[in-house]
């Protein structure tokens, strides 16, 4: 994608198609937050907009870092973040019942959030280092499994089921892409399908079981835990094809929809913009993710291939889990919709992913142009 000659080459070489999609999604997000605040840029849209500009700039800076730096930093970085997770466990701040934050005085760090891209890089690096003929042996599996299980376990202790799930998914995705025998995944999926109902019936506490049952039928307990899902479905369902119109959502404006600006922002959007708005977000994200996978397919090094496809899939997991949750297809696990939900962590993670993807993309082109 080479633009007119007056555009400087580094700018022209940026992946504009992806960037425009990302800017479109984020701008739409600002419009939704403006409505969620009852037609006001405060308290959410304005700060979210500023943050977006900052993070986007940060991503463009990250894109300048050569691919090899990521390669070299992958495992040391992983070790550092695991150490931080231990630190969180020992002296982290407890907020809303779980211990996720590390307060360093000048900055609040959430190491589990950084672990999402870090696990992808670490696994990608591991499989790059692994001799190809080892790929289908047991030695290709247990170190990766350990790499994943350690942070996932630490995050589960916080407890933060959603993030643990994402870390595990990200790692497994890289294992899958690296060529670990398919039957392990099929077998694992089957084992999970069998174990889940058994776990629900025999291992879980009553309240945990109730939560699962409520997820299956939220209307059975409309004012309890199922309230979020019920209200979210009502918001989405009542939006219809084209929605109730900008600023005319009743579920969000009359506070029936909880977390209408964070985890359930998609429902706020769907109520006012209908299926059309929803399709826009889904399609735009799929295109961004497809771009990321294509970056992986075009990458030369094994690390770059695995990292790019893995990072793209991490973004995919964000979106898919969040949408499944707000539409009542998954339990409420507290995964925000990146770029749209108010809040910095997820947005930052996604821009880190995009930054690394752009960096890989850049080295692809550089290699190609040789």
């Amino acid at each position: 994608m080479i633009g007119p000659s007056f555009v400087p080459a580094p700018v022209a070489r940026l992946p504009w198609r992806m960037l425009i999609l990302v800017i479109a999604i984020a701008s739409f997000g600002l419009v939704i937050l403006y409505s969620a605040a009852g037609g006001s840029v405060r308290p959410w849209a304005l700060s979210q907009g500023i943050r977006f500009v900052v993070f986007l700039s940060g991503a463009l800076l990250i894109a300048r870092i050569p691919e090899d730096v990521w390669r070299q930093a992958a495992l040391p970085g992983y070790v550092l973040i695991v150490a931080l997770l231990f630190a969180v466990e020992l002296l982290g701040a407890v907020r809303g019942g779980s211990q996720r934050w590390l307060d360093l005085g000048f900055i609040r760090l959430q190491p589990s959030e950084v672990m999402k891209p870090a696990i992808v890089l670490a696994c990608a690096r591991f499989y790059e280092l692994l001799p190809p003929n080892e790929t289908r042996r047991f030695g290709a599996i247990w170190p990766a499994a350990l790499l994943i299980a350690l942070p996932a376990g630490l995050v589960m202790l916080q407890p933060d089921l959603g993030t643990a799930l994402m870390i595990t998914s990200g790692g497994l995705t890289v294992m899958f892409l690296a060529g670990v025998p398919l039957r392990l995944f099929v077998g694992g999926a089957l084992a999970l399908a069998v174990a889940a109902p058994l776990a629900v019936n025999f291992l879980l506490h009553d309240y945990q079981r109730n939560r699962v049952l409520i997820f299956m039928d939220p209307e059975s307990d409309p004012l309890g835990t199922g309230y979020h899902i019920s209200q979210s479905k009502i918001a989405i369902g009542s939006g219809g094809m084209t929605g109730k119109g900008f600023l005319h959502g009743t579920q969000s404006h009359l506070d029936y929809l909880p977390e209408g600006h964070t985890d359930f922002v998609f429902a706020t959007m769907a109520e006012e913009w209908g299926v059309l708005g929803g399709l826009f977000i889904i399609v735009a994200y799929l295109m961004v993710i497809r771009w990321g996978i294509n970056v992986g397919l075009q990458a030369q090094s094994r690390f770059a291939k695995l990292a790019a496809a893995g990072l793209a899939t991490t973004i995919f997991f964000y979106v898919a889990i969040n949408l499944a949750m707000v539409m009542g297809l998954a339990p409420v696990v507290g995964i925000p919709l990146p770029l749209v939900s108010f809040g910095g962590s997820a947005q930052m993670t996604v821009f880190v992913c995009l930054g690394i993807l752009m960096s890989i993309d850049r080295s692809n082109r550089v290699e190609k142009s040789w």
Partner: protein, 697 residues
């Protein structure tokens, strides 16, 4: 691929990666499609359902209880209407600090300790959404005071609505019944949100209950847009209520109240029917509860007082009270004899007693009536005449006539609880007791004792049918009056003879001379009756039967009276039944009460004057006496008992279904059994004969 190829496995690895990356991309698109499909399902296929849910979230509909249809009398005067009511409720869910709220309300509304006990009990039982009544019929100033302080007292709901009002109070209690809040069960069964709307009341007893569907109307609705926290955003359109339909009764409100007052301190009932149409002009059962206070919800103390009263104020005696009709069945017996071919002029010698088998059966007149014919036997209420004639004929020939004039019949009336008694015959006894009908049974039945049981309504119908000669059906609703009743299957001549006998009761030196009307051109025909309710032992019989005045209330005889007027062209028929009256006080006995009630129909002024003279002798009008009774009861009940006795307005049973009523019924059944058991010994009530209210004049 411009690099030199690596080892084969590495190329394979790259191939595997590409394949799996494509697979991953395809899976992601698949998941995206599923999510888009799910969204389409929610927002398009299920759109209508979720729209509705969203609307019901957004719009908070407060129902406005419909104004209840009036009950009016035949002239359009209200028997039950609605008055403006300021009320204060508590919504349990929204109450923050119960103690503080109750303390404030207590001070604002001047609540008594008893009120607070009831409110606390109701709060404990109430489902969170169901409002609990704090006070009804609140004065405007107190109401305004509560409204001013409402913001600081969450859960307190002052509302302006309508409350049921019964101008005649207790006089109409058993006719109208009363209204009250729906019970938790009723709400659970119907899930009708109206049932938990503050101020909504439904019929609990009497006509209010049976005519509920017509009287209820359709609720209005106030629609407001609210936030999830219940904060009002905007008021939307309000739908007005559709009031229930006014129901016009055949009752004459004036007569109803007059009869209720005229019954005085009696535990009794009076029914007046129109002989042309069967319309019920009054249906009184006294004493009674005040439906106004019942509709407001009563305390356990009041309930206890009503339950403990031996005059059974909770029972609608007109339809629930069953009594041996005593001598009031003699005209009907006479009719049966005539229909069987007995000549009205045939005489029977009454020597005061009749020996049948091993038993001796007495007449109420120990010296005997001498030779007496049918008309005379009715007029003098001679027992021996009927013993002898029915002994010859057999009671099986009498029973069909009894049924034809309305005994044992259940009428099509909008009254929930009707008990319809017994007209015995040999087949019935065979069925019920597996024993043969005896002569003693016939003799006891011939004086309306033994197995014969009837309610006061049936006695009035009997009088009406004999008076009119038509199979009239009693009716209570103006639009349900049955016209064109067929004639009774009896000869007009025979009916005339019986009516002459009844005329002689009052005007021919009979037992009811006291009830003669002092109205020119209007003569009353009647029949008096007494029903024995206790077993008289052989020992007592030997030493002399105790007089009623010597007996406790529950053992005294019932006094009964049926009548119609004017004799030539009967217009009104009535029955008066006084439980355990015992004919002890002349002014409170059947003949004079009957006379005054019938007088009211022809000369209101005279009737009212007569009442004004006698009413002070028994302690004044109904309200005065009820207030005095309650004060006396309160005085005897300690405060501690009152504290225990907390009732809620919803869990009290309907009066006609109250335990006290059941117990009274059981007691009267036991009395019946006691007298009947003597029949087995060949004696029974007939062996002492009937007792009559007054000596022939």
């Amino acid at each position: 691929m411009n690099r030199p190829p690596r080892i084969a496995t590495e190329a394979q690895q790259g191939y595997t990666f590409s394949r799996r990356a494509w697979l991953l991309g395809a899976a992601q698109i698949g998941v995206g499609t599923v999510l888009a499909g799910r969204m389409g399902w929610l927002a398009i296929a299920e759109n209508e359902r979720y729209n509705l849910l969203s609307e019901s979230n957004r719009v908070n509909m407060t129902l406005i209880p419909p104004r209840r249809g009036w009950l009016v009398d035949r002239h359009g005067n209200p028997i039950a209407d609605n008055r403006t009511d300021f009320r204060v409720d508590l919504i349990p869910d929204r109450v923050v600090d119960e103690e503080r709220t109750l303390a404030a309300l207590r001070q604002l509304l001047a609540l008594t300790e008893e009120d607070l006990l009831r409110i606390r009990a109701d709060l404990k039982h109430a489902a969170g959404f169901q409002p609990v009544k704090v006070a009804e019929n609140v004065g405007w100033e107190r109401f305004a005071a509560v409204q001013v302080r409402q913001p600081e007292l969450p859960g307190v709901a002052p509302t302006r609505g309508f409350a049921r009002n019964y101008p005649a109070g207790a006089a109409v209690a058993h006719l109208t019944g009363y209204v009250g809040s729906a019970t938790a069960e009723q709400y659970k069964q119907t899930k009708n949100p109206l049932f938990v709307t503050p101020g909504f009341k439904l019929g609990k007893d009497g006509l209010e209950k049976t005519l509920e569907d017509e009287l209820r109307g359709k609720p209005g609705a106030k629609r407001i847009e609210v936030t999830a926290r219940g904060k009002l955003v905007a008021e939307l359109a309000t739908r007005v209520d559709v009031p229930g339909k006014t129901q016009r009764l055949t009752i004459d409100a004036g007569l109803q109240e007059y009869a209720a007052r005229r019954l005085g301190t009696n535990s009794g009932s009076a029914v007046v029917l129109d002989c042309l149409t069967g319309e019920m002009l009054c249906m009184v059962s006294m004493p009674a509860y005040d439906p106004n206070s019942f509709s407001d919800g009563i305390s356990q103390l009041e309930w206890k007082m009503l339950s403990a009263d031996d005059h059974v104020p909770l029972m609608n005696k007109v339809t629930q009270g069953l009594y041996p009709p005593g001598s009031t069945v003699k005209p009907m017996n006479g009719l049966a004899l005539l229909e069987a071919g007995v000549s009205p002029d045939e005489r029977v010698f009454c020597g005061g007693a009749l020996r049948v088998g091993s038993g001796v059966f007495h007449c109420h007149k120990r010296r005997g009536h001498g030779a007496i014919d049918l008309r005379g036997a009715i007029a003098q209420s001679c027992d021996i005449y009927f013993y002898e004639m029915i002994r010859r004929l057999g009671y099986d020939r009498v029973a069909p006539v009894a049924r034809a004039v309305g005994l044992g019949e259940k009428y099509d009336l909008p009254l929930a609880a009707q008990r319809y008694g017994t007209v015995p015959d040999s087949a019935w006894k065979e069925r019920k007791y597996k024993t043969k009908w005896t002569v003693a049974d016939s003799l006891n039945s011939s004086i309306g004792q033994g197995y014969v049981l009837a309610n006061p309504m049936q006695l009035a119908v009997m009088a009406m049918r004999i008076a009119s000669g038509r199979m009239l059906q009693p009716s209570l609703l103006m639009d349900k009056v049955a016209r064109n009743a067929p004639a009774l299957p009896f000869s007009a001549e025979n009916l005339r003879v019986v009516r002459e006998g009844m005329w002689k009761v009052v005007n021919g030196g009979g037992t009811g001379g006291a009830s003669r009307l002092h109205i020119p051109g209007v003569e009353l025909a009647a029949k008096t009756g007494t029903a024995q309710v206790r077993r008289i032992t052989m020992a007592e019989r030997r030493s002399g039967v105790l007089s009623n005045a010597q007996l406790p209330f529950k053992l005294r005889d019932h006094a009964l009276f049926v009548c119609f007027a004017p004799v030539e062209n009967p217009r009104y028929a009535a029955s008066i039944v006084l439980e355990h009256n015992g004919h002890t006080v002349r002014n409170l006995d059947t003949p004079l009460i009957g006379r005054d009630i019938m007088t009211y129909l022809f000369d209101k002024e005279r009737a009212l004057k007569s009442l004004a003279e006698v009413e002070p002798t028994w302690g004044g009008d109904i309200r005065t006496r009820m207030a005095a009774q309650e004060a006396a009861y309160r005085a005897t009940t300690t405060a501690a008992a009152a504290a225990q006795a907390v009732a809620t307005e919803t869990d009290a049973p309907a009066p006609t279904r109250a335990r006290a009523v059941e117990q009274a019924t059981d007691a009267s059944n036991a009395a019946q059994e006691a007298t009947v058991s003597d029949i087995g010994n060949g004696v029974g009530p007939a062996s002492v004969g009937t007792t009559e209210p007054s000596e022939p004049q």
